[in-house]
């Protein structure tokens, strides 16, 4: 199970702030994982696929390729509002 978090306006587009995703094989490339998470929500897919949304895996920003494993935490961060 992977814990997925949607921050800011993404939580409205996703309809939830948090969800759990099962990985059938225990691991998955981050790109495929994004597609899995957004497969039933084209609006969310467009936002998460855009250049302004950052993907964070276990509290570290994902630069390019990464693999999500069972037990990980993935967060999608829209541009920050600042403090």
């Amino acid at each position: 199970m992977v814990r997925v978090l949607f921050l800011g306006r993404l939580s409205e587009t996703a309809g939830v702030a948090e969800m759990s995703v099962d990985l059938p094989s225990g691991e998955m490339e981050i790109e495929a994982f994004r597609a899995l998470v957004t497969r039933s929500n084209p609006g969310l897919a467009e936002m998460i696929g855009g250049p302004s949304v950052r993907t964070v895996l276990n509290q570290a920003i994902v630069m390019q390729d990464a693999v999500v494993h069972d037990g990980d935490e993935v967060a999608f961060l829209p541009p920050v509002s600042g403090g």
Partner: protein, 153 residues
């Protein structure tokens, strides 16, 4: 010292704590930000701040470390609130203690400019006109860039 919390804080008590931490210092500068009642001409009845526990604190720690490296400050104290806040409520406290005033002033100025543009908070303003998500403002980004020429990071 950094804290992200929902609970209200007492700016005077935070200032006193900072002074206690930095007894040798000759200068303490503090800033308190409060929730605005009007934003871009629209009345605001509530501000909601989301943050990402762990990630947000780490990002603020990194900003504080850059300020410590760039200015001769002895102590830094940052308190930031999250959750639903009403106009007028204190939302952020930033304090810096240094031997001399200019380092303390500059450190607080620098910390606020970076917090306003980079701190991982997501803000939603609500009012009679509806609600909207806020992104860092142009003027805040320009303020942030003032420090780039000799970036302290």
């Amino acid at each position: 010292m950094i804290r992200v919390q929902h609970e209200p804080f007492d700016p005077a008590a935070e200032l006193a704590q900072l002074a206690e931490e930095a007894r040798e210092c000759g200068a303490i500068v503090s800033f308190v930000g409060t929730v605005r009642g009007i934003s871009d001409g629209d009345a605001i009845s509530m501000l909601e701040l989301q943050y990402y526990p762990g990630f947000t604190e780490a990002a603020i720690e990194e900003i504080a470390a850059a300020a410590t490296a760039g200015f001769a400050v002895e102590a830094i104290r940052i308190i930031h609130r999250h959750g639903r806040l009403a106009p007028g409520e204190p939302i952020v406290f930033v304090g810096a203690a240094a031997r001399h005033r200019r380092d303390a002033f500059q450190a607080v100025d620098y910390l606020m400019d970076r917090l306003k543009t980079e701190a991982p908070f997501w803000k939603k303003e609500s009012g009679p006109a509806g609600h909207r998500w806020i992104e860092a403002r142009e003027c805040d980004l320009a303020d942030r860039q003032r420090w780039d020429e000799n970036d302290r990071a």
